[in-house]
């Protein structure tokens, strides 16, 4: 029999978690499983603590894990992130879906997490520890209290979602890049993909190829050639692995060079 545990704080909620429990954020992931009678858990844990703070912190911004996509879109401090938040679902989903859910969402979901990865995301967990988002995505253990990201300046941040249906459709792939420059050359670049692996991932080969390059077609060509290096994209109902490999360089070029930006 299913039970619902209501905790006052995230720490209490964390104590109520187990293999057979799921934490309810916005509901878009967990309620779907409940509706379909998922037998892997018999406890829903929810929390009265709102966790919806958005707080600038020097060159970074801290976003509470309960912040919804709609709240991101409405936040002056997160204007750069609005296109990525807008890429998630329709308006109703965006009123419900939280940033905490997005970082644990299974393939092909998690478009916002791709943006967070490119912005050097770090997660703070309910136990007070923190770790890079990249590392968290490998295990997804522990309840996320907040995510801290770098605040990009100017047009350094790029996001692109490729889907077959517009304006709302599931990702064939999503891509984000933080293109920092130093003396006119790309430096400390971060590039992340979604729906190209089991979780959102950073793409080391592309990042390396962009290091020190100029942001023009010549400069990014080596990165385009390395667009899917080391990746094994999934086959699913939306696109085959082959298709994802074939189109990734095209979308990467559009992302990096700001072509056809929506």
């Amino acid at each position: 029999m299913l039970e619902v545990v209501v905790a006052d704080t995230l720490a209490e909620a964390s104590a109520a978690m187990s293999e057979e429990a799921r934490f309810l954020g916005g509901g878009t992931l967990v309620m779907r499983q409940v509706n379909y009678g998922d037998q892997r858990f018999n406890r829903i844990v929810r929390c009265r603590e709102r966790l919806d703070e958005i707080r600038p912190d020097g060159s970074r911004v801290m976003i509470g894990s309960g912040v919804t996509m709609a709240q991101i879109m409405g936040s002056r401090d997160l204007a750069f992130l609005a296109p990525a938040a807008r890429a998630v679902g329709g308006p109703a989903i965006r009123n419900m879906a939280t940033i905490g859910g997005n970082v644990i969402a299974p393939h092909p979901y998690g478009d916002l997490a791709v943006a967070l990865l490119a912005l050097d995301g770090r997660v703070a967990l309910s136990d007070g520890t923190s770790q890079p988002l990249e590392q968290y995505l490998k295990t997804r253990r522990g309840l996320v209290r907040s995510v801290s990201i770098q605040r990009p300046s100017g047009d350094e941040f790029r996001f692109r979602k490729v889907s077959r249906v517009k304006p709302k459709g599931v990702s064939v792939m999503s891509m984000a890049a933080h293109l920092q420059r130093s003396a006119g050359r790309l430096s400390d670049v971060r590039v992340a993909y979604g729906a190209m692996a089991a979780t959102p991932i950073r793409v080391a080969a592309v990042e390396q190829a962009l290091e020190g390059a100029s942001l023009d077609l010549n400069g990014v060509t080596p990165a385009l050639n390395a667009a899917t290096e080391g990746l094994s994209p999934p086959d699913d109902a939306l696109a085959s692995a082959w298709y994802r490999r074939e189109v990734a360089p095209v979308h990467l070029r559009r992302l990096l060079l700001g072509e056809d930006r929506r």
Partner: protein, 638 residues
């Protein structure tokens, strides 16, 4: 210059002074829609409603070795399990209602499951969650079996058997063939004389109807010893009859309420929910709802079946198509549902809206270990149309011709004989092409612009096609014994091309028995034997009792080849080799000559009964009021 087809072409087909038709109107049900009050089947509340869910096969093809339901029965809230042996009449086929095909599909499958998602047990519980939990607790020992997912693989002798009722993996047509045939003219001769042979293969995927409302039904005992059933069905009377049969209740005890359907598109005709929900209500004495979730709707719900088509055309240098051969495969999935009918529907559509004097087609309704397929918006037609129109473009490319002009050149015109020996009427493809070209700024030649569906049809080779004897290739079960190509005439040593009405030593096998209301009228035959007799005085063949094949009311003469220039060979339209312009020019207004009367004396037929009120050779009865002139009768434009 916009063309108003209705005014130009069908002026006499419709009265323009109708009160409702042709006028904007507010839907009668839309007030309910916008206020959320339209009563869809699930919008009825019952105290103590129970919920039903099914245990389903997780494999493409499997056998149930054993089932352990003890844990499921202990799940709190479980009220009752329904097993295959609880279903009074477990086996059914949808078209049994029309006496077409044999019962081949269980409501709940006792042993061998032929597709992924096939239900074996239904569980009824006090909540949907409890029903889901119980389904998860049923332990089934599945033996996985070899499966076949490709239509042509399924035709091979070594293919696993999918459907016990049709052990050859094909639906049986006319108790004789493993496919539906169409034979018209002489395709081999047509190919022999063609300048080009153009071949193509086209594959369509299954398509899920994906209605917004998933399929479902709620059944409840009523106080008058009846069961009420609210259902999402698109086919209320189908569903009543199927439910009555499978529950073994007289239909007078079933009170069906439907009509408000949240989208159907063909996906709500299969009538599986109603008998199961009623059975649930019978066995528990309580209201029972059986509703698919979205995942079931997509996985288990029958889609439009996949189709594969191969088309081979014989084409003259100038674009005239003189022969066309089809080999088609309908993927029925594991059970017949409506695929057997889709095959006949598409055969009726062949060769598309074109006048081609030589046509042969073999179409197969193939069983595979896929989800059974069923109706969806023009099923049987859209697939073959897609193939035909893709192929027309391919032909145009081959002969370096404008694709629209190619269509105009080959289009049906009024009076042409179609492949089913009916006269084409109310043709408008040419005009449609002309308007499309105009609207899209596509330049057409003067000939193409001048062409008309009203002119040039129904003459010579366009109407006088000798009857073709059905060959005996592809007998039921033949393919199990030996590999046999699926194309028409494969494995047939001798073919016969004989003229209509010829003395036929081999009775024209495969013809479905003609029913009285299907008696062939001379005017519907669409090909001429003699000239000059007005339709109104054309006698008809006397009605024939059901079950007696009706010979074509033609001269009872021996076979006679139609006029053919020796230099052009059989099957070639004269236009194709003549120096004349291809598009028929109208010098003398040429309306299709009234179809010939049958011979004044009908062909002798020993089996014909004599009946006082069915005098042979009597005058044709007056047109019945209310009979659409669209369906029969010449288009009046004198």
């Amino acid at each position: 210059m916009p063309v108003e087809f209705r005014k130009d072409l069908f002026a006499d087909e419709r009265d323009d002074n109708l009160a409702e038709i042709g006028k904007p109107h507010i839907r009668q049900d839309i007030l309910g829609h916008v206020t959320g009050r339209s009563p869809f089947y699930d919008d009825h509340l019952f105290d103590g409603l129970l919920h039903m869910r099914c245990v389903r096969s997780p494999h493409h093809h499997s056998r149930v070795r054993s089932v352990d339901t003890s844990a499921a029965e202990r799940v709190p809230g479980v009220v009752r399990l329904i097993r295959p042996q609880d279903v009074p009449v477990n086996l059914n086929t949808l078209l049994a209602l029309l006496n077409f095909g044999r019962d081949d599909e269980p409501l709940l499958t006792p042993d061998r499951c032929a597709y992924k998602g096939e239900p074996i047990i239904a569980i009824i519980a006090t909540s949907e969650r409890a029903a889901r939990d119980a389904v998860a607790q049923v332990k089934v020992d599945w033996e996985e079996l070899p499966f076949v997912l490709d239509v042509e693989e399924a035709l091979k002798p070594e293919a696993p058997m999918v459907n016990e009722t049709y052990p050859n993996n094909t639906f049986d047509y006319h108790d004789r063939y493993d496919h539906q045939k169409l034979r018209f003219g002489d395709v081999e001769a047509g190919f022999a004389q063609a300048d080009h042979i153009v071949e193509g293969e086209y594959q369509m995927s299954p398509i899920e109807q994906a209605p917004m409302e998933t399929c479902g039904a709620i059944a409840a005992p009523e106080t008058n010893d009846r069961f009420v059933c609210y259902t999402s069905t698109q086919a209320l009377f189908f569903s009543v009859a199927v439910a009555a049969k499978q529950t073994a209740l007289p239909s007078s005890r079933l009170h069906f309420i439907g009509g408000t359907v949240g989208g159907g598109f063909g996906g709500k005709v299969d009538s599986h929910h109603e008998p199961l929900a009623i059975l649930g209500a019978m066995l528990t004495g309580r209201p029972v709802k059986y509703q698919w979730d979205r995942a079931e709707e997509m996985q288990v719900g029958a889609p439009r079946g996949a189709e594969r088509w191969r088309i081979k055309d014989g084409v003259m240098r100038d674009g005239r198509i003189v022969a066309r051969e089809f080999t088609g495969f309908f993927d029925a999935g594991a059970y017949t549902r409506l695929s057997s009918y889709a095959v006949q529907k598409c055969t009726g559509h062949i060769p598309g809206p074109y006048t081609i004097p030589n046509i042969a087609s073999n179409v197969y309704c193939v069983f595979t270990n896929r989800t059974p397929s069923t109706a969806m918006r023009g099923f049987g037609i859209t697939g073959v149309d897609f193939a035909i129109e893709c192929h027309m473009d391919k032909v145009a490319e081959q002969v370096a011709m404008d694709p629209i002009e190619l269509r105009i050149l080959n289009a049906y015109r009024d009076g042409d004989m179609k492949a089913h020996r009916r006269s084409a009427k109310n043709c408008a493809l040419i005009e449609c092409c002309q308007v499309v070209a105009e609207k899209s700024g596509w330049a057409l030649s003067a000939d193409a612009r001048a062409a008309s569906s009203l002119r040039g049809g129904g003459v010579d080779w366009r109407a006088e096609i000798p009857e073709t004897l059905t060959d005996q290739g592809g007998q039921i079960g033949e393919r199990k014994r030996r590999a046999l190509a699926p194309e028409p005439f494969a494995g047939v040593s001798q073919r016969h091309t004989v003229a209509a009405g010829s003395a036929n030593e081999h009775p024209a096998t495969g013809n479905a028995p003609q029913r009285e209301d299907m008696v062939i009228e001379a005017e519907r035959l669409g090909f001429k034997v003699s000239t000059g007799v007005p339709v109104s005085s054309a006698p008809i063949a006397p009605p024939t009792p059901p079950g007696v094949p009706v010979p074509y009311p033609n001269n009872a003469r021996p076979p006679e080849q139609p006029d053919r220039d020796a230099s052009t060979g059989p099957g070639l339209p004269p236009a194709a080799r003549s120096a004349e312009p291809l598009l028929p020019r109208e010098t003398v207004p040429q309306r299709p000559v009234a179809p010939p009367p049958a011979a004044v004396t009908p062909p002798p037929s020993p089996s014909q009964p004599t009946s006082a009120d069915q005098a042979p050779g009597g005058p044709r009865p007056p047109r019945r009021p209310g009979v659409s002139r669209f369906i029969s009768g010449p288009r009046g434009r004198r």
